[in-house]
Each structure stands twice: as C-alpha cells, then as structure tokens.
Symmetry: C2
Subunit: 469 residues, 2 copies
C-alpha cells in the first residue's frame, strides 16, 4: 500500500512515520529545503517509540521517497494526506489538484483542525477531514469528518495501521477534541494573565489529578463513577445547577432541563451500563495504578511523587538474613491464569538483589561512579501461587562473594508465611565504562565479608546450588 | 498522628483511606446510618489499589473509629478534614465548632470545590481549602488555598502521606483544576445537546488523544513541544490569533498581545527550558509508550487499540524450531545499568512460552475452558546485553512433553544474530478449577508429539538440562 504525504513538518512527518512503520511505501511532497532533515527527525523518534507499544514485531518498514512533483507523489497512492498550513485559499488550491491527480479509489484526507469538510470542498474537491493528534505516530485518535462512504473507507485503513478512527457525524468548527483543548487553553490564558497560576502550576494541576483519569476513561465515565451507586442522574442533579456558577469564563451554558438530563443519563447507560459502579471503580483504579507505576520509570508527574514517597518509607534494618523485599502485589502483575505471572517473581527477586546491593554499599551513588553488578544466571523455583493484594517478602542469603562473583539466594514468602518461590542469582561485578568485570571496591568487599560472617553458621538453603556450575 | 474526618461519603472516605493506609489513626464523624458501610467500601477499594503503587510496604494501617460526638472526633486530631455537603450555611456552622474543638496546632481543611477560603471563614473560622480529586486514595493532587502559614503546614503533612500539594496563591472560584473541568463539562454538554457527539464518543475523543498527553505533561509543556525548535513563542504566534475563532463556546477571551505572549513564554522557559525540544519529545514519547503499554492489561482506551492491532500482526508459521518471539525492546524495559533489566529477559521467555502454548493449541480458548500450564522452574543464562530499540527474537526447543510435564528451552537472539540469553522452563499442566495437575487434552498432547517428532534429530542445546532435577 502507498501513502502520499503533502506537507512534511511535525504532523506530516508523523503521518509518514505511522504509515512507514506499518509497512506502507511513502512519498512526501514538501517544497521546504529542510523537509528531509525535519522528517528524518520525526522518523527517528517514531522508530524509537512506536514499536515499543507492541509485543510483536511490526511489518518490515516501507520505502520513503521525497518528490518535487505532485502528480508523481500522489499518482499511485491509496491514501493522500494533506498537512499544509491552515490557510483556506491554499487548501483549496492544493485539494483542487489532489482531486485531479490522485487515483479514484484513494482516500484524500486533510489534517486541518480549523476547517470543516464543507469549507475544504467548496470548490468541488473530494476530501474528508482526517484530523490527527501529535505525536501522530503514537496517539491512536483520528477524527474523521465528511462524506460517510469516504470516511468508512478511511476508517478501515486507519484501523489497519493501529489507529482509532472516530467518525464525527455532524461537522462543527474545530471538530470535537480541539473544542475541549481550546476551552481549556482559553481558561488557562485567563489564569496566567490574571496571575492566579503559572504555566507550571497549571500543568501540575492537570497531570497530578484529572489528566490521569481522562487518559483511561475520559469525562463522562469518570463522572458516572462520581455519581456512585445512585448513577449518572444523581451526578447531574448534584452538579447541573452549578452551570450558572462563575466556575469558568465559559458562561454561555445550555439549559439544564429534564430533556438534557435524560439524554445524557441514557447515553451514559448505553456506554457504561454493562458495568456496575463497583466494577467501574476497580477498572479505573487498576488503570490509574498501572499508569502511575509506568510513570515511575521517567519520574514524570505522579511517577515522581510516588518514588519520592516510596524512598521515605522505612525499611527493615540489616539482620543476619536481611529482609530485602516487603511489598503488596499489584493487579498488573497478574496474568490469564489469575495469579502473579512468572516474570514478576523474578522482578521481585531483582528488587531484592537491588536492596541487598544497597545494603552493602553498591547503591545509586556507587553505580553513578561507574561500578555495578550484572546478573549472569538465575534459577527460580515456583512453589505456590501468589495473588494480587498478597503481601510479598524476601529474605536473602549470601552464598558466595569471592572477588568479582556474588551469589545470592532469595526466599520469597507470602503474607501468611508460606514459602512461594526461591530465586538464586549469580552476579558479576563490572566497570560500567568498559562493561568488563572487575573486583568491587574495598567498602563493598568488606560489607560483603561482614554479611558472610554473620550468616556463616547457617545451613545451605534447600534448593540452592543450581547456578554457577 | 491522628486525623478527624467530618463527613464520610466518597470524598471523606477517600481521605480516611489515604490517612489510614499511611499509618495514621482516623476518627470519622458522620450522622448517616449507612456511613460505616459506605466508608468500608471505599476502604476496600483503597486497600486493593494504593499499596500497588509502591515497591515497598506502606506503614502498618492505623486504627479507625466512628464517633457520634464532634468534640471526641477532633479533640486530639493533627488534621481535621471537612467534606460535608456544599451548602455555605452548613459549612459555617460546622467550621465554627471545629475551630473551637480542634487543637490549636491542627490543620483544618475543607474539601470544598465551590467555596473560597474567604467565604468559609466569614464567621471567623480558621480553615483552609484542601481540595482533593476522586479517588482521593490514588490521585496525588490537593489544591491548598488560604492562609500561607496554615497551607505550608498542611503541605508538609500531605507530602508525608504521598500527596502533591499545589498552593493556589490567589483565591478564585472553583480553584484551578475544576475551572478546566467545568469548561470542558459545559462544552461537552453543548455537544451532546446539539447532537454532535454522544457521551461515549466524547470520552473516546479524550482518552484516545490528548488525555494521554495531559496525564504526563499537562497543557503548556505539551504545547511547548508542538511549537518545535522555534519554541513557545512560535506556538503562540500560530494559535494566538485563533482565540477569536468559534472553536469553543468559551468566547470571552483575554487580549492576545505582546505582554501575554512574553508572560507565557517566560513562564514556559522557567518550567521546561532545562530540556531541549528533542529531550522533551523523547520524555513525552517514553511516558506515552509506558502508559499505553500499562493500559493493555485492562484493555481500556488506547490499551485495547494496541492489543487489537497487535493481534492482527502476522507471526511466523510453525517451523521445526519455531520463532516464538519477535519484537522490539521498549525503553521501559531498561534499568539503571543502561540495558534491559534481568526480569524482562524472563518476560520475553514467558511470552515465548505463551506463543508456543498457542501453537500447540493451549491458547486463550483452551484456558477459558479451564486448562492451562503453570511454570514450576526457570533457569536463565545472561550471555550479552540488550538495549532499548534492539530487535529481540526467541526460538523454542521442546525438550520434553511426557504427560503433564512440559520442558521448553528458549534461545533469545538480538537483531544482529548474537545469542543473548537462554531461558529453560519446566511447566506442569493444570486444571484451573482445582489448581491441581492433570494431563493435557488429546489435541494438545498430539500437537506436542508432532513438534517433538519434528525436532527429534536435533542435538541437545548447549546449556540445557538445568531444570527438573
């Protein structure tokens, strides 16, 4: 399949990347002499990010070519996407030619956020709005507006490249999503102008709260939950009358009457009525926990808040056999068998190793100075099932610490004291600069010797001895 | 530390849960005879979700008591939180008594979204606004409004229970976040009323696009990126003039002049200027990929879109030694050593096992009928480093399939062909109803026999034989 991209830049480049990485051949028409560099940069980002969404390989990348000839660019295209600057006369000129030059079966889409299909086609062009969201190579949403048959054809193709087409049934200025963006943008400009909040405070007000809710459920399903057992009508009864309060500069509000209440409550039932409020709450909570945990990796927003709090939580002091893990199992660690997935036993073991390293001085500072341990072998025995919500603890035996070798044995127990798994690990001390093995520094070596001495009288744990041979 | 919660319900109950699970003792005053049941339900949700955010145990839960006496409830409290219905005369009455009864050092907060501190304290009560977001036990944001010293004291306590206090420096109707919620709510009501979109379509328009952006960066930092290398001023120059377009019903807009541009661009520089646009793009992309991957577990929003697309991606047909994994390594699989974390080698091996099971008929339908395999032992050898963006493949040898036992050996290779790890797994076939072992059904047993026959002439792989002894 072939795509023609008219106008590079961030949006056109994003479209090109989405098609290319899904195996389409792409031709780009852009008179900007910097076009190749700019598109290359978007493509670099897309190649780095998009395949990471999937646990399978995407198709082999298609071919990319830049062209100076519009006919050559679109002549054999199955999809033509226009992303030129937002000036109506320019759009008319471009779409007049695209309608002539593109094959009859091709979808012709415009990335416009500001013009309606009736405006774009004033001069007879066959074009629909296919409005994407930046970054186009990651975010699924495409708003389709215009001729129903043309939109339906487009929707099928978009699903095939991993996107989510939303058919906007009645055209309206700015389509749907951008109307919300624009409302919030205008409200935010007032707050900055009036000195109520800075741009940073506004961003925090969004990403530490409702932004997380909206990323997984949007507006109405979230409010349905807020209505509690009494449902959407109860929520509307509570907040409907506030429509006349000065809670935003948006003071032109619809009449709040029974007709509007019935319309919204009915649509909300159709959307979410198959789940009870309790089920919706738990779905919301599981999603929030999963997303907030995901943000811990970069430390952005809520992820940073969690990590800072976590670091302040007390941990047990070193005992001869130290507790190196003590936590509750999150929902997202479970799998289709209804219990903790095998890989998370090792994640728990890996966290226990990290904590043991920290205890002997091979901590974040030590790693920042260029020294660390790499695991070379692991052996896991699964002795009992673990479920979401279970307390999970690890106690760690040091089975060997000669020179650059470190041999650990973690016993994992559930809250009820049952031994649920053992994780036996062999690690080698490395120089992070050269990636070669080397002995640990004296402080770490001495701390290891002390743990070894403290554990010297203990018998070899049952099941140990499966690594390092 | 002791908290007094005045008014249960979803918000009061959420506050109670947040304090309790962080080790505080909590007293609740609520005349509703259903209060105990309602709070119990919020607590159940909180116990299930909140500890899952952390990789360490939270403190031991505090004690919870309900009281019918206001003085008894707040007499020894360090924090008093009022969440009674939004009627000003009721708030005045309650806060008059709270100011008398609470210790002088106690923070007295109101959960109000509709009243300003100056309104709450009209009759002399000492009270600040401490406005939370549902679910209070998960979302970090608390808007603090009112006396600066009182707010500063509150902020320290809130950080100690894992929250993110945002000090609203000038009081304003609805504080900050709810002004955005209200603007979007009003805009959304118009769209539903005018038949442009249903509640479900609006939710999709949010969660498939900008909701994901806002959950990790908010509004201004996202727009800063959209401005590209030319920065925030460029973005403002592009979208500022659109303020007069009919893109929302919010038509009361601030003057778009140099003063406003300089104010916003300057604040944006102070907020995000330490990162280049390229760095911001990659941070945004890493966060989006991490959150969207996290949503795959429940299938909500973008998570469902990804899984549907993934399922449509072609996989290699069975060869004598089948390819059971073929994927790119996401950024979130890497750790502080700058390479793929040890646990994700096992995640890859686990995915390879899933694919092998699928190939022999032990697929999702088979599992839905109540039969599956549980892993009982894994042995991993780490032979080389793997980095974000690397292609990773697995080929699987069947080393044994007698009765209920299944013995697999996955060889993991990087895109350049280097063998990076081996994962040797021993599994047992189980009845998911009884959780006891049993033989697989005939179809699976026969498929396994066929794979065994096809691989019969192959030598034992190097490094195999470390499980099942």
């Amino acid at each position: 399949m072939k795509a023609a991209i008219i106008g590079g830049g961030v949006i056109g480049g994003g479209w090109a990347a989405r098609f290319l990485l899904n195996g389409w051949d792409v031709a780009i028409y852009d008179p900007d002499p910097e076009a190749e560099r700019k598109i290359g940069e978007v493509l670099d980002n897309a190649r780095r990010a998009l395949p990471g969404l999937y646990d399978r390989a995407l198709p082999d990348e298609g071919t990319l070519r830049l062209s100076n000839d519009l006919g050559d660019t679109v002549g054999d295209a199955d999809w033509v996407q226009e992303s030129v600057p937002e000036r109506l006369e320019l759009k008319h000129k471009v779409h007049g030619r695209l309608s002539e030059l593109a094959p009859a079966h091709a979808v012709i889409g415009s990335s416009t956020s500001g013009f309606k299909p009736s405006e774009l086609s004033q001069k007879g062009a066959r074009v629909i709005v296919a409005h994407p969201f930046n970054p186009v190579y990651l975010l699924p949403l495409i708003e389709l507006v215009g001729d129903a048959e043309h939109c339906a054809r487009a929707a099928g193709i978009l699903r095939g490249i991993g996107m989510y087409p939303l058919h906007v049934r009645k055209e309206i200025d700015a389509h749907i999503a951008d109307r919300f963006l624009e409302a919030v943008w205008r409200e935010a400009l007032w707050l900055v102008k009036d000195g109520i909040a800075t741009t940073e405070e506004i961003d925090e007000a969004i990403r530490m709260g409702f932004g997380l809710r909206w990323a997984q459920m949007g507006l109405f399903e979230t409010f349905r939950i807020a209505g509690g057992e009494a449902g959407m009508k109860h929520f509307l009864a509570q907040f409907g009358p506030c429509l006349t309060s000065p809670w935003t500069r948006l003071m032109d509000v619809p009449d709040f009457n029974d007709e509007l209440v019935d319309l919204i409550a009915g649509q909300s039932d159709a959307q979410s009525g198959h789940l009870s409020i309790r089920e919706l709450e738990r779905l919301r909570d599981d999603n929030l926990v999963a997303m907030m945990r995901a943000l811990k990796h970069s430390g952005s927003g809520a992820g940073g808040v969690i990590t800072r709090h976590e670091t302040s939580l007390p941990q047990e002091d070193a005992a001869p056999v130290p507790v190196t893990l003590d936590r509750q199992v999150p929902q997202i660690w479970t799998d289709y068998n209804g219990h903790m997935n095998e890989a998370h036993y090792l994640e728990a073991g890996s966290n226990a190793t990290d904590r043991f390293m920290e205890m002997v001085g091979a901590d974040a500072d030590y790693i920042a100075r260029g020294l660390s341990y790499f695991t070379v072998e692991n052996h896991l025995r699964y002795l009992d099932e673990v479920h979401a919500g279970d307390r999970l603890q690890a106690k760690t035996r040091l089975l060997g610490a000669e020179g650059k070798k470190l041999h650990l044995f973690h016993a994992l127990t559930r809250g009820d004291g049952t031994l649920v798994a053992t994780v036996e690990s062999l690690l080698l001390h490395v120089d992070l600069g050269t990636r070669k093995t080397c002995p640990p520094n004296v402080v770490v070596a001495e701390a290891l010797a002390q743990v070894a001495a403290a554990q010297a009288g203990l018998p070899k744990p049952e099941g140990a001895g499966k690594v390092g041979r």
